[in-house]
Structure formats: C-alpha cells, structure tokens
C-alpha cells in the first residue's frame, strides 16, 4: 500500500494503532517527493534530517504508551513565509534568501505540540504577492494536473504539495485568496479562517488587516482537524481573537436540510468561464436536492472589492516592507556610496518586479494629497462591503460562489497585464475585506480536465457552518477522490 496516498485522518489512525511506524510514513512521503518533486517544484526547502529525528522521538513516546497528539507523526508542509527557528524562511524572495529566523511561528508550535512533523517549506509568490506563484525568486511550481499550467497563488507550493500527495496537509496564508484560489486550481481543500482565529505571530506580514493563516488538506475532515490544531487566542498576536473555540470536527455532519445558502447572482454573472458556471449551477442543484434552501442575495458593493483591495493591500504592504533596509537582516547590496544608496540598492536588487510594483502603488495611495482620495475612500467602501455581508447573513447561513472565475492558466499567460492577474481573485478578495471565513472545495473539472473549486463563505467565527456544508457537498460528490496523473 502506498501510504502517501492516504488522508491525514487515515494515516494518523494507522500510526496510533501501530499498524505502521512513523518512519515508514516519512519514508513513503519522502520517496514520493523524490519521484515527483522534480516535475512539480513545490518545495523551497526540505527538512528531512529534523523530520526523521522527530519521528524517532515521537515513536519512542508512542511505544511507551504516551499520547502523541491528534496529528501524532503526520508529515505536513509549511508555506515559506511562516517562520521556523533555524530553518530558512525565504518568502521566495532574494531579499530573504538566506534569512534564518531565531523563533518559530505560533501555528507551527501548535502543530508540533499536536505531534505533526514538518516535511519542508513550500514555494510561493514573492512575499505572497501574486495569484500564480510565478513571482517566486526561487523556482517555478507546476500544477500537478498539467505541468504547463500554474498552480495558482500565492500559496502555490502548499496547494501543489497536497494535490500531488507530497504532504498530508499544509499551511498557507490568504490575503486576497492565496489559500482558496490555489486550492481550487489544484483540486484540494483550502480554508481561510476568520480574521483573528489563527495567530499570525511568525507569519511574514504582507497586508496586516487582511492576512490570515489556514490549512490545505485532501478532505474537509482533515481541514477541521487542522483548524482545531491551529486556532486559538495567542498573546503574541494582539489581533488574535479571545473567544471560546469550538471542536470543529463536530461540524462534520452530512446534512444540510433546511440550511439557507445565499447566491449573489448579479455579482458572479460577469467574466465567469462557462465550464466553471456549469459546475457551479450543478452544485446548486445538488445542495437543493439535499434539502438546502437557495436564497437569492445582493452583494451590491462586492464588485468594488478589487479596487478596495489593491489600495488597502498595497498601502499596508508598502508600510510593512519598509523594514527591509539591508541593515538588520535580509539582502544587502555589495557596493554603495552612502546610507541612502545602501537602502535603495539593497531594496532594488532584493525585491522582484511585482513586489516593487505594489510598493510603488502603496506608497502612491498613501502619499500626501492622495490619502483621502484613495486610502480613506477605500476604507469607507470597505465598510459598505462589510454591511452588505451583514445584511445577507440575516437571511442565510452561508454564501456560495465559485472560488475563481477561471481554471488553471498557462505560465506567462497573465504576467504581462497585472489587472488580468488581479481579476483572478474577484471572488475571494471580498472575503478578506470583510474578514470572513471561506473554504474552497473540489467541485468538478473543465473540458481540459482542469479542476474547478466551489467556495462557501460564512459570517465571522462561523467556521462550523462552512465545514458542515462543505462536508455534505464532499460526501455526496467525491471529486476529492480524483487524483492528478503527474506526467
């Protein structure tokens, strides 16, 4: 039996019952990586030595009858913008190519406390800015379903690693769709929790009012298990929510009878690929047949989300990325005349084209004379978008939209025109603006056999509703069981 093919919950059970050893599991996954990684390029760094050391320690504990946690011995991958002490964290940027963090992110600590083993760090768009992972300085990650196409982004490596069975689950970060969109393009489950549900301590900041860490997994059940492990209040992140956290696996109920699902027909009518539209409409039918009530809703301001996003996200990014000055850590240029020249050359040589574009745009919208016209206005429209959602949740339990308007595109297809690339995030961005939880799950394939994703969006802190409807859909379809043939 190929152990690497199993789901997270399946392998965790086998380890716990001692049907397999943790070393067997690691051997299986690393040999899978050896077989297909040269084609996919999902990983920036592999932490093989540490992984085997941890496997040994965990096995000894397990054999001694100790509880090694719900993720005991399960290998997972971490996006390369989440810090692990003494492991390079590059953000797929030349700027941080040699950065070795002196501390570990809270999410990784939590996963390890639950017994998980880190396999390695995954590739991404530079500083998480992009929707295709093509802006990585390190390498080009390919979509396991078609190696000539992008895996989506920015968490492309995390999505591809799970899709290609090179990890049982992974962590990504989502600022405007960076978990859900690649999950959709690679046919895996991707969950972006409510802003504040998962600690961001140790996540390299992109846009602080929008960023959130979340899991990629092979099944909805595994997403619930991962969310249980990583959610919770953290004193190291002042924006982390101090609330009562439920057991998310309790929401894995195959029943949506009487569940109200909102459909914003007007918002999703433009620019939708016909195959995606068809899969979406079939999904509505299926849930209707399962007893869900389909309710028409209006999200009048959602169409302004992209404009709001590219003002707010770049403004926050230009300020967050001000810290890269070539002084304390990160890339420093070799030759310079004076301090200003050192700053300028280090930043110019250390950042890639898309990052520079966003820093310039962000600096522009924050600069004197433009602040009110752009930044403040975007924050006001943000309020209107949030109010739209609030009104909708008075009537419905969840909102359902496609995850992305298109399926995986070819390399280079959208790199020339940044707005075309930005439009890929049209259905995911409103969720970050309103700080809501969203999940993308596999819902079919287009005429070229490229995966299509379905997105559910719930009100803040209502992840349980998301998981319930996603689980029901998954259990009644089975798209998640179809795996890519890597060639």
């Amino acid at each position: 039996m190929d152990l690497y093919k199993l789901s997270l919950s399946e392998i965790a059970k086998k380890i716990k019952s001692k049907e397999v050893s943790i070393k067997d599991v690691l051997d299986s996954v690393y040999s899978r990586i050896e077989d297909v990684e040269s084609k996919i390029n999902a990983y920036v760094t592999l932490t093989k030595e540490n992984a085997y050391k941890r496997a040994e320690i965990l096995q000894i504990k397990l054999d001694a009858g100790e509880d090694i946690g719900v993720l005991g011995g399960v290998p997972i991958a971490i996006k390369d913008n989440i810090c692990i002490k003494d492991v390079k964290t590059t953000c797929s940027s030349r700027m941080l190519q040699n950065f070795v963090p002196p501390y570990t992110a809270t999410v990784v600590e939590k996963l390890e406390n639950m017994g998980a083993i880190v396999l390695g760090k995954t590739n991404m768009d530079e500083f998480a800015m992009g929707s295709s992972t093509e802006s990585s300085y390190i390498k080009k990650t390919c979509n396991p379903w078609d190696l000539s196409r992008v895996p989506g982004g920015s968490s492309g490596g995390s999505a591809a690693s799970v899709s290609a069975d090179m990890a049982y689950a992974s962590l990504g970060s989502d600022t405007g769709g960076s978990i859900r969109q690649p999950a959709s393009l690679c046919s895996v489950v991707g969950l972006k929790p409510t802003y504040g549900v998962v600690s961001r301590y140790g996540l390299v900041a992109f846009a602080s009012s929008l960023d959130q860490i979340g899991p990629f997994s092979k099944t909805v059940e595994d997403a619930a298990i991962m969310l249980n492990a990583i959610s919770g209040h953290d004193t190291m992140d002042s924006t982390s929510a101090d609330i009562e956290y439920p057991d998310y696996t309790k929401s894995l109920v195959n029943d949506v009878n009487g569940f109200k699902i909102g459909i914003p027909t007007k918002f999703i009518s433009e620019g939708l690929n016909p195959d995606v539209k068809k899969a979406y409409e079939e999904s509505i039918e299926l849930l209707k047949n399962k007893g869900a009530q389909i309710v028409e809703i209006d999200l009048d301001y959602a169409k302004y989300s992209l404009a709001v996003y590219y003002i707010l996200a770049t403004a926050e990014a230009s300020s967050n990325l001000g810290r890269y000055d070539g002084i304390k850590y990160g890339y420093r240029t070799k030759d310079f005349d004076d301090l200003t020249d050192l700053y300028k050359k280090s930043r110019t040589e250390g950042f890639g084209a898309e990052v520079k574009r966003r820093i310039i745009l962000g600096t522009y919208v924050l600069s004197s004379g433009y602040y009110d016209a752009y930044y403040k206005k975007a924050q006001q429209v943000r309020t209107l978008i949030i109010n739209d959602f609030k009104k909708a949740y008075e009537k419905v339990d969840v909102i359902m939209v496609p995850t992305a308007p298109n399926t995986a595109f070819k390399f280079g297809e959208k790199t020339e025109n940044p707005i075309e690339m930005y439009l890929e995030d049209i259905f995911t961005v409103p969720v970050n603006i309103a700080g809501l939880p969203g999940i993308s799950i596999p819902c079919g394939f287009d005429s070229k056999n490229m995966p299509i994703g379905l997105q559910f969006i719930a009100d803040a802190f209502e992840e349980s509703k998301l998981l319930r409807v996603a689980y029901t859909y998954e259990q009644n379809t089975g798209f998640h069981k179809i795996k890519p043939e890597i060639k």
């Binding site: 070795v100 002196p102 802003y195 009012s209 302004y304 084209a353 310039i360």
Partner: protein, 95 residues
C-alpha cells in the same frame, strides 16, 4: 495617463527604490492602469460612511508588565549582514 513618469520617479524615491528608464516606463503604465481601475470607487457615495481599518472590535491590547526571557543577542545578530563589537555596523551617517 493618470500618473506621470515624474510622479513615479518621486514615489520610487520615497519608497527607496531605483528604477531604470525601462522600469520607469513599465511602472508608469501599469500604475496608471491600476489607478484608473481604482477610479471606479468614485461612483460610490461614501458620505457619512465610517472607514474600517480592520474587522475586530478591539482597541488597545495590553499585557501585564512582567519580566520574561527574551532573545539571545548573538542569535538575533546572526542574520545581520555586518557586525562589529557586538553591534550591527552601518555606513557613516554624519560627516
């Protein structure tokens, strides 16, 4: 063109970035496109609408002022490009 080359040059300087002539051309074009795209917000009536900075209802988050173990100095300095006598060294800033 809603943004001029001169403006982009000025902004790049504020952001401490150097642009080649080719990059200046490229960024001026794409910045203009994005700014034009963002102009769609002008259709929206935002009078009497409060701006939202983030969605959580939190203000100041304080912790107790207690002594805790902090980072090891040597360890923090490991990533600094140049060091001297236990400090990060920088080029001369005052004449």
């Amino acid at each position: 063109m809603s943004v001029s080359k001169e403006q982009v040059k000025h902004i790049a300087n504020l952001a401490r970035l150097k642009l080649s002539d080719e990059e200046l051309e490229k960024y001026t074009n794409s910045l203009s496109d994005i700014v034009d795209f963002a102009e769609s917000l002008n259709e929206v009536d935002v009078s009497n609408v409060e701006p939202t900075a983030h969605i959580l209802k939190i203000q100041n988050v304080f912790r107790k002022d207690e002594l805790k173990e902090s980072f090891d100095r040597e360890e923090l300095f490991k990533n600094a490009p140049t060091k001297e006598s236990g400090c990060i060294s920088v080029p001369k800033v005052v004449e």
